[in-house]
């Protein structure tokens, strides 16, 4: 289907939100440019677009976190101009951010009433109200629980509770499903439907087109900061939406003929890990990866996959044996493991992958401080490092003016490309990759998959953790599922659906 000109929303209902010609510039970046958006009351309206298309920015503008440079916004027919979330909240708008906005060390109650103390105080009245909402939507939340004790799904419900507590009629959800497994997604959608039934209007952002088609009443597509059209979820196909989003075909990783060999590259035998409080983070992990094999690891966030990777690379110290290419490395320091040919693509690129304020070429050295071309003996080899950085920038199409630019200035995807290029160089024998394409737009995604496959053909062994089950199924030769620090399932990607995985990941029946 072709893009119907923006503005003609497919609903006859009165408009809850009307955005006209909104433009938002950041230093150098035009995040939103002449955006039009119509959201009908009591509907779930999906907003889609590739990374950096400007979705979050637009939402932040709607919620008063940031101010539009141009354009008008009207809520329920009233033209408004928010200068702070407070005003947005007054106007009945609530927002669930892309990243959780919760204070771990405060209770659910405190998190919820924060900023809305006027409504029911901070005492029993508030507690009662929270209980009421929680029951009404089956959130099952204990108001006096510390948030740090809550799981991902619960935290998300606290976020929604915050919005409802303020009596918001319009709820913005920025990529709420990014961290959820299918079952949790279903639960969330159930909530959204109830909300819609009770007259709420929802603005819903996601990269996952199936979800969008499952829940949305209308769809608006953003590309490069501007609205390129709307679509009807009932009729539009994934492919059409994808084309609208990127003006290109939506790729998905295709497994080619297996390159799995027989010689074992990595084997973990009975690896255990306990935290400071003596609780098990990993228990009895056994797995082997052969040369040329990609082993996928599926799991709900916080079930030990990060710990597993960190134990492998030596950031955490577990018990049990880890051999790489037949060599026992469990006694090695992280540095020696890297020297032994282990590459590491961390889940959190900002915390573990980059020196944000250092130039790209110094970031190239990071993690390779002891190996050429970065260093010669005890000295840093600036020329060598710079040359190799340039190579990575060209080969992996890192969009940057120069290799002297600080990493902070790069976009998330480009930062990710740099990391992957770095970890691939010096031909590692084992790559430990977490969410290699998270936050990366489709173009870059395909490229990254390409690189991984090529290396795999050349005999690289890969341990792949990803929340994107399609990616997992597409890339892996085998898939294991981890739950509460234990391997609970073993799947063959050729005959497994995301739903099966999701079930295993959440403690449903295994394979």
């Amino acid at each position: 289907m072709a893009a119907t000109p923006a503005g003609e929303a497919s609903s006859h209902r009165p408009l809850a939100i009307q955005v006209r010609g909104v433009t938002k510039r950041f230093p150098g970046v035009v995040a939103n440019h002449d955006v039009d958006l119509d959201i009908a009351e009591g509907t779930v309206h999906a907003l889609i677009g590739e990374n950096g298309a400007g979705k979050s920015t637009l939402m932040k503008i709607l919620y008063g976190v940031q101010k539009a440079d141009e354009g008008t916004i009207s809520v329920n027919g009233q033209e408004v101009s928010f200068s702070s979330p407070t005003e947005a909240i007054k106007a009945g708008i609530g927002m669930v951010f892309q990243h959780f906005m919760l204070a771990d060390n405060l209770t659910v109650l405190e998190n919820v009433v924060l900023g809305a103390e006027k409504l029911h105080g901070i005492g029993p009245a508030a507690r009662a109200e929270i209980q009421r909402i929680s029951d009404a939507y089956g959130f099952a939340l204990d108001p006096d629980e510390l948030v740090e004790h809550l799981g991902v799904g619960q935290r998300q419900r606290v976020e929604i509770l915050k919005v409802l507590y303020r009596g918001a009629k319009i709820v913005i959800l920025d990529e709420p499903t990014a961290v959820l497994v299918p079952q949790e997604v279903d639960a969330l959608f159930a909530n959204l439907r109830e909300l819609r039934a009770s007259g709420h209007t929802m603005l819903f952002i996601s990269h996952k087109l199936d979800e969008v088609r499952a829940i949305a009443d209308d769809i608006t597509v953003l590309r490069r900061g501007t609205t390129v059209g709307t679509a009807d979820p009932k009729t539009a196909t994934k492919r059409e939406l994808a084309e609208l989003m990127v003006g290109a075909e939506l790729p998905s990783p295709e497994t080619e003929e297996s390159t799995v060999t027989t010689d074992v590259q990595l084997s973990m035998v009975d690896v255990n890990l306990v935290d400071d409080f003596g609780r098990n983070l990993l228990s009895g992990i056994n797995l082997t990866i052969h040369r040329g094999e990609v082993l996928g690891l599926a799991g709900v966030e916080g079930n030990g996959q990060d710990e597993l990777l960190e134990t492998l690379i030596g950031i955490r110290r577990g018990t049990g044996s880890i051999t790489v290419g037949g060599v026992e490395v469990s006694s090695y320091s992280t540095r020696r493991r890297r020297e032994a040919g282990m590459g590491f693509i961390p889940a959190d690129r900002h915390r573990h992958g980059l020196l944000l304020d250092a130039p790209l070429w110094e970031n190239r050295i990071l993690g390779h401080q002891t190996t050429a071309p970065s260093v010669t003996g005890p000295l840093v080899n600036r020329r060598g490092a710079k040359a190799d950085t340039q190579r990575i920038v060209d080969l992996y199409d890192v969009r940057t003016p120069s290799i002297n630019t600080p990493a902070r200035a790069l976009s998330g995807g480009n930062q990710q490309k740099l990391i992957i290029g770095r970890e691939m160089s010096g031909d590692p024998v084992l790559l430990i990759a977490a969410h290699p394409t998270r936050g990366v737009d489709v173009g870059a995604q395909a490229a990254i998959w390409g690189h991984i496959k090529r290396a795999r053909r050349e005999g690289l062994a890969v341990l792949l953790v990803s929340a994107d089950l399609d990616e997992l199924i597409g890339l892996s030769d085998r898939i294991k599922v981890i739950l509460r620090g234990e391997i609970v399932g073993d799947f063959d990607p050729r005959n497994v659906t995301p739903q099966d995985l999701g079930q295993a990941m959440t403690g449903g029946k295994g394979d």
Binding site: F26, P27, G28, V29, R223, R224, V246, G247, A248, I313, G314, I315, S333, T334, R335, R336, R337, R338, F344, P346, D348, R351, H352, G353, L354, L355, L356, D357, A358, E362, I365, L366, G367, Q369, T370, V375, P378, L379, V380, R399, T400, P401, T405, P406, R408, A409, L410, S411, N414, G443
Partner: protein, 368 residues
Amino acid sequence: MPVVKRLLAAVIAPVMALVAAVLITSVVISVSGTSPVDFWQAMLEKPSNRSLVNIVNQSSMIFMSAVAAAIGFRMNLFNIGVEGQYRVASYVAAVFAGAAFVSGWLNVVLSLLLAMLAGAAWAAIPAILRVTRGVSEVISTIMLNSIAVFGVGWLLSNYGEKAGDGRRTTPISDDSLLAGWQPFERTDGKIWSLTVLAVLVGVTYWFVVNRTRFGFDLRATGQSETAAVASGISVKRMIVISMMLSGATAGLIWLPSLFAETASGHYFSSSTFQVQLGFTGIAVALLGRNKAVGMVFGALLFAYLSVQASALEFAGLDVSKNVVMVIQGVVVLTIVISYEVVGRWRTAAEQRAVTAALQSPSKQEVPA
């Protein structure tokens, strides 16, 4: 971003800061009823030859103190303990040199090494507490500063030799004293021989931090501990090593004065030992942004201020010399603030550059 802009950014911050500092102090001074004009005239009048010599000698000590602090700061270790470290080290060195186990320059060299050892050892305490028990080095070093005062004072008053109504370590025999260089008249004093230590320390610091693997690890740890760990740096090891390096450098701070023939009193005593250098060093490190060159200027500025302060009373100005401390504090504050401001402006510029680069190739991807 263009080199010109970079240079501009480099100078604009300090200039802004100094202007602000001058204004603020002028206000403070006029509050006390003295005319700021007179004050600045007195402060800015050309230093006498003797003052110049003193400025060089003082700044050498301040500079080493700054480097000591900077080593920690470079990896987000706030070693507030330089003050205590160089007190302990100076005492140890003075005792050893005074005992004259060996004579001549060998005595000097060994004392230097011993001082570095002592400083490192004293600095190791907070380091170890930090890595084994997670004790914030800020608090522990502050506590250790006080403990150093009591400890050294106790040793001095119990084992020091009597001198007048005070105590001191045994004076260093003349054969271990260093003549120094005399740039002007004899009465204008001499530049202490061991001021060269400052040069050595400075060059070494620059080279190690910017050119060596260790330096890279140091800066990496400072910029992001988590990333450093993931990159294979053993942060605990780094903390202990760099803290001890910091302490070792601190150990040298006072020694130029101790072994200088022309300095008065070749021994450690309540009146000859110069206190406060540790804190001055911290301020100078902040001033110079932990960069070797920056700290050279910082050290010179602070030395200049404290030396010129003595000109005040001959200028017949009725203003407390403590105003110098105010100036120093204000300078530090204004410097860091203005660097912050300039820094933000620069990041924005860099992002502009990035997106400019992002835009051009990505254009054709957008269908017209």
